[in-house]
C-alpha cells in the first residue's frame, strides 16, 4: 500500500508540478494613441509596467499614430483585421464609434473594480461616450478651449488688455474684435482660431457658441446652419476676416506662439508652445462672452476597447486600471481629468505649472464644468467634408453669408 501511495503521490506531483510551473498564456495588448510625446509615453509605460507587475501574463504596448489621418489609419487597421485592443478616439468621431458596435461595453468592468468609484467620473464628461445607459469609452481628456493673448502686441496697438476688460466686466466679442482690428491695422495679426485653417470649420464652435449657435439640432436630425444665431455668428466672423482684417484671411500663415498675433483660441495643453526664449507678456483668459452670454467649449478624447480586438476582456480590465483614481491623478498631469475629485486648483495647478491659479480657476475648472463639447455626429467625416466644400464659398470677400449657409444645409441635411 505504501508503495502505491508513493506512486500515487509521485504521479500527482508529476502532473501538478509542471502545471504550476507553466505560466498562463501570454497576452499582448496594444493601445493606439496619437501622441508621440516622450513624457506622455513615459507615464503610459509606467502605468503599463505597474499593471504587468500585477498580471505578468499581460504585456501592454502603445502605438503612436500620426494625428493627421488618425481615424483613417485606425479604420484601415480594423479593415485589415489588425484592430488595436484599445484606442484613443476623438470627440468628433465618438458618434460613429459608439453607435457602430465597434466598441466593447465597459460599465460592468468599471463597476467590478474595487475603489474605481465610477460615480466620481462626471456625467457630462461621459455623455458623449454613453448609449442606452452603457459606457463605451473612458473620457481621459476633457480639455477646454481658452484664449491665449499677447499683451505686448495688444498694448503696442494702444488697446486695453483682456485682463483689464474682464476686471471691468467688458470682455465681449465686440471688444475682442475691436482690439484685433486695431492690432491688424498696426501691422500684426489679430485672432487666430488655431487648426481651423478654413477647413476644420467645427473649431469655429469656439466662437459661434457665444451666439448660442450650433450646426444641427440637439437630436442631430435637423441642420441649423440657417438659423439666425448661426447667420449672425458667421456674419460676424466673415466681417472680422474680410472687412476688419481682425482674423488672418485664407492662406495667410501666422503663428501666435511665434509672437505674430494678438490672440489665439486653442486648448490649454498648447501652453507648452509658449516661447521659452524671448517670451512675450502672455495671458490665458476665458472665451469672450457673445450675444448669448458667457460660454465655454471643450474638446474630448476617450479610450475605447475594440470588440474585434484579440483580447477585449483583458483590454477592458487594463483600461479600468489605467483610469482608476490613482492613475487618473497621474494622467491629470497632461490631460484634464473627468473625475470631479481631481477638478481642483491644487491638482490642475501641479499639472500645469505655467498657468496661474486664476487662469486655472477661470479657464480650466469653469470650462470643464460648464463647457459644451465640440459638435460631433454619426458619419461626421462625410458631414465635415461636405460642409467644408460648401463653406469654401463663404471664405471670399463678397460672399452672401445666408445663401452659403443655406447651401450647407441643403447638402448636409440628407446625411443627418
Amino acid at each position: 500500500m505504501k508503495l502505491f501511495d508513493l506512486r500515487l503521490a509521485a504521479l500527482a506531483a508529476g502532473i501538478a508540478l509542471p502545471l504550476a510551473a507553466v505560466p498562463a498564456i501570454a497576452q499582448d495588448i496594444r493601445m493606439a494613441i496619437w501622441s508621440a510625446n516622450e513624457a506622455h509615453l513615459k507615464l503610459f509605460n509606467e502605468i503599463a509596467a505597474a499593471y504587468t507587475a500585477q498580471h505578468p501574463e499581460v504585456k501592454v504596448s502603445f502605438d503612436s499614430l500620426p494625428f493627421d489621418g488618425y481615424t483613417t489609419t485606425l479604420t484601415t487597421q480594423i479593415a485589415g483585421g489588425n484592430a488595436p485592443d484599445l484606442a484613443w478616439i476623438l470627440e468628433t468621431t465618438a458618434g460613429d464609434f459608439v453607435s457602430s458596435g465597434a466598441l466593447s461595453p465597459l460599465k460592468a468592468t468599471f463597476e467590478g473594480v474595487a475603489d474605481y468609484n465610477l460615480a466620481d467620473v462626471t456625467e457630462s464628461a461621459l455623455s458623449l461616450w454613453t448609449a442606452d445607459g452603457e459606457i463605451y469609452a473612458y473620457p481621459f481628456s476633457t480639455s477646454p478651449f481658452g484664449m491665449f493673448v499677447n499683451n505686448d502686441v495688444i498694448k503696442a496697438a494702444g488697446q486695453q488688455t483682456p485682463a483689464e476688460l474682464i476686471a471691468a466686466g467688458e470682455w465681449t466679442w465686440d471688444k475682442a474684435e475691436a482690439i484685433n482690428t486695431a492690432v491688424a491695422a498696426a501691422g500684426k495679426q489679430g485672432l487666430i482660431v488655431r487648426d481651423f485653417d478654413y477647413k476644420v470649420w467645427d473649431n469655429l464652435a469656439s466662437i459661434w457658441n457665444g451666439w448660442g449657435a450650433s450646426p444641427w439640432s440637439a437630436d442631430g436630425k435637423t441642420c441649423t446652419f440657417t438659423e439666425q444665431p448661426m447667420v449672425d455668428a458667421m456674419s460676424f466672423i466673415h466681417k472680422a476676416i474680410f472687412t476688419d482684417k481682425a482674423i488672418p484671411g485664407p492662406g495667410v500663415t501666422a503663428d501666435f506662439f511665434a509672437g505674430d498675433a494678438a490672440m489665439t483660441i486653442t486648448q490649454i495643453s498648447r501652453a507648452s508652445l509658449l516661447p521659452k526664449e524671448n517670451p512675450f507678456n502672455w495671458d490665458l483668459v476665458p472665451l469672450p462672452s457673445g450675444p448669448a452670454g458667457e460660454y465655454a467649449v471643450i474638446g474630448q478624447a476617450g479610450i475605447g476597447v475594440f470588440a474585434s480586438g484579440k483580447n477585449p476582456a483583458v483590454a477592458a480590465d487594463f483600461l479600468a486600471f489605467f483610469s482608476n483614481p490613482d492613475n487618473a491623478k497621474k494622467l491629470a498631469k497632461f490631460f484634464p481629468p473627468p473625475r470631479s475629485s481631481l477638478l481642483n486648483a491644487e491638482v490642475l495647478g501641479a499639472a500645469n505649472p505655467l498657468l496661474s491659479a486664476t487662469q486655472i480657476e477661470n479657464v480650466v475648472i469653469k470650462g470643464i464644468s460648464t463647457g459644451k463639447v465640440k459638435p460631433g455626429h454619426a458619419g461626421f467625416a462625410e458631414i465635415q467634408q461636405t460642409a467644408r466644400a460648401a463653406l469654401d464659398a463663404l471664405w471670399v470677400a463678397d460672399a452672401d453669408v445666408p445663401a452659403v449657409l443655406k447651401s450647407v444645409c441643403d447638402r448636409i441635411q440628407p446625411m443627418l
Binding site: T75, T76, A79, G101, K199, G251, V252, Q385, W395
Partner: protein, 308 residues
C-alpha cells in the same frame, strides 16, 4: 506484334525531359517570379476589388453584406460624380498638354551641344528623384497667400492671387506642381528620342532649304512620334492616379473643384468608411484607364511613324 512491341520499346526509351520540355520549363521558371508577383499583387487584388464592389462593407460595424449591383447603381446616380469626373478631365488634359509641351521644349534646349549642358539636364531632372510629399509640402508654403510666390510677385509690383483658394488657380497650381515634379522624366525620354534622329536627315533638309520649323515638324516630330505616344500614355495614366498633391495642397477644394477620382475614392473608402463603394469607384477608374490606353494604342497607326 513485333511492330507494336518495337513502338512500345521506343516510347519507353524516349526520355521524358526532351530538349523541348526542358526549354519550356526553363522559360516558365524564368517568368515564374514575375508571374507570381502579378498574380499576388495585381490579379488577386483586382478580383477582390470586384468582389468588394458587390458588397456593403462597414469597417466600424464589422458588416460585410452582399448588395449585388447596388453600388454600381449608386455610382451612376451619384450627384458628385459629374463634378469629380470634370475635375479629373481638366486635370489630366491640362497636365498632359503642359507636361508634354514643356518636356519637348526642354529636351530640344538641352539637346544642344554646349559646354556644361549636362548641368542643365541634371537640374531639370532632379525633381523626379525628390520625395513627392516633401516636394508638395514645399510648394504648399510657396503657394500660400503670403507665401514665396506672391512675395516675389510683390517685388515687381504685382499682387498675386490666393492660389489655393479659388477654383481656377487651385487647379492650375496642382497641375503646375505635378508638371514641374515629373517633366524631367519625359524630357529624358524625348532627349533620347531626339538623339536617335539621324543627323543626315537634317543636313539633307538644310541643303534643300528647309526652315528650322519645317525640319521640326517634317523630320523631328514624325521620327520621335513613338516616344510622343509612349510619354502621352504614361502621363495620362499617371495623371489619373494623382493623390498626394491633392491631399497636401487642396484636399479636394475649394468646393469640389480639385476632387479628382482617386481622391474621391480615398474619401469614400478611407474617410467615410465605405469600402464597398470605394471599390466600385476604383473599378470605374480601372475602366477609364483601360479604355484610354486602348484608344491611344489604336491611334498609333495614325500618329506614329517609323515604328519598328
Amino acid at each position: 506484334m513485333p511492330t507494336a512491341a518495337l513502338t512500345a520499346d521506343r516510347s519507353r526509351k524516349r526520355p521524358f525531359w526532351t530538349m523541348e520540355r526542358r526549354d519550356s520549363l526553363a522559360g516558365y521558371l524564368f517568368i515564374a517570379p514575375q508571374l507570381c508577383g502579378i498574380v499576388l499583387f495585381v490579379l488577386i487584388p483586382l478580383g477582390l476589388v470586384v468582389w468588394y464592389s458587390l458588397h456593403e462593407w462597414n469597417v466600424l460595424a464589422g458588416t460585410f453584406r452582399f448588395v449585388g449591383d447596388a453600388n454600381y447603381k449608386k455610382l451612376a446616380a451619384d450627384p458628385a460624380l459629374p463634378e469629380v469626373l470634370g475635375a479629373t478631365a481638366i486635370f489630366s488634359a491640362g497636365l498632359v498638354v503642359f507636361n508634354l509641351s514643356l518636356a519637348l521644349l526642354l529636351a530640344i534646349l538641352v539637346n544642344q551641344k554646349l559646354r556644361g549642358i549636362t548641368v542643365f539636364r541634371t537640374i531639370f531632372f532632379s525633381p523626379v528623384v525628390v520625395s513627392l510629399v516633401a516636394w508638395t509640402i514645399v510648394w504648399n508654403f510657396l503657394l500660400q497667400a503670403n507665401g514665396g510666390i506672391n512675395g516675389l510677385l510683390q517685388v515687381i509690383g504685382v499682387t498675386g492671387p490666393n492660389w489655393l483658394r479659388s477654383p481656377p488657380t487651385a487647379m492650375a497650381s496642382v497641375i503646375v506642381v505635378q508638371v514641374f515634379k515629373n517633366v524631367g522624366l519625359n524630357m529624358v525620354l524625348f532627349l533620347a528620342a531626339l538623339q536617335g534622329v539621324p543627323r543626315e536627315l537634317y543636313e539633307a533638309a538644310r541643303v534643300d532649304g528647309a526652315s528650322r520649323w519645317t525640319q521640326f515638324h517634317a523630320i523631328t516630330v514624325p521620327l520621335i512620334s513613338p516616344t510622343i505616344l509612349l510619354t502621352m500614355i504614361i502621363t495620362i495614366v499617371g495623371s489619373l492616379q494623382v493623390f498626394a498633391q491633392i491631399a497636401v495642397l487642396t484636399q479636394g477644394g475649394p468646393g469640389m473643384s480639385t476632387t479628382v477620382l482617386v481622391y474621391y475614392l480615398y474619401q469614400q473608402a478611407f474617410q467615410f468608411h465605405r469600402f464597398g463603394y470605394g471599390a466600385t469607384i476604383s473599378i470605374l477608374l480601372f475602366l477609364i484607364v483601360a479604355v484610354l490606353t486602348f484608344a491611344q494604342w489604336q491611334m498609333r497607326k495614325r500618329i506614329v511613324f517609323y515604328e519598328n
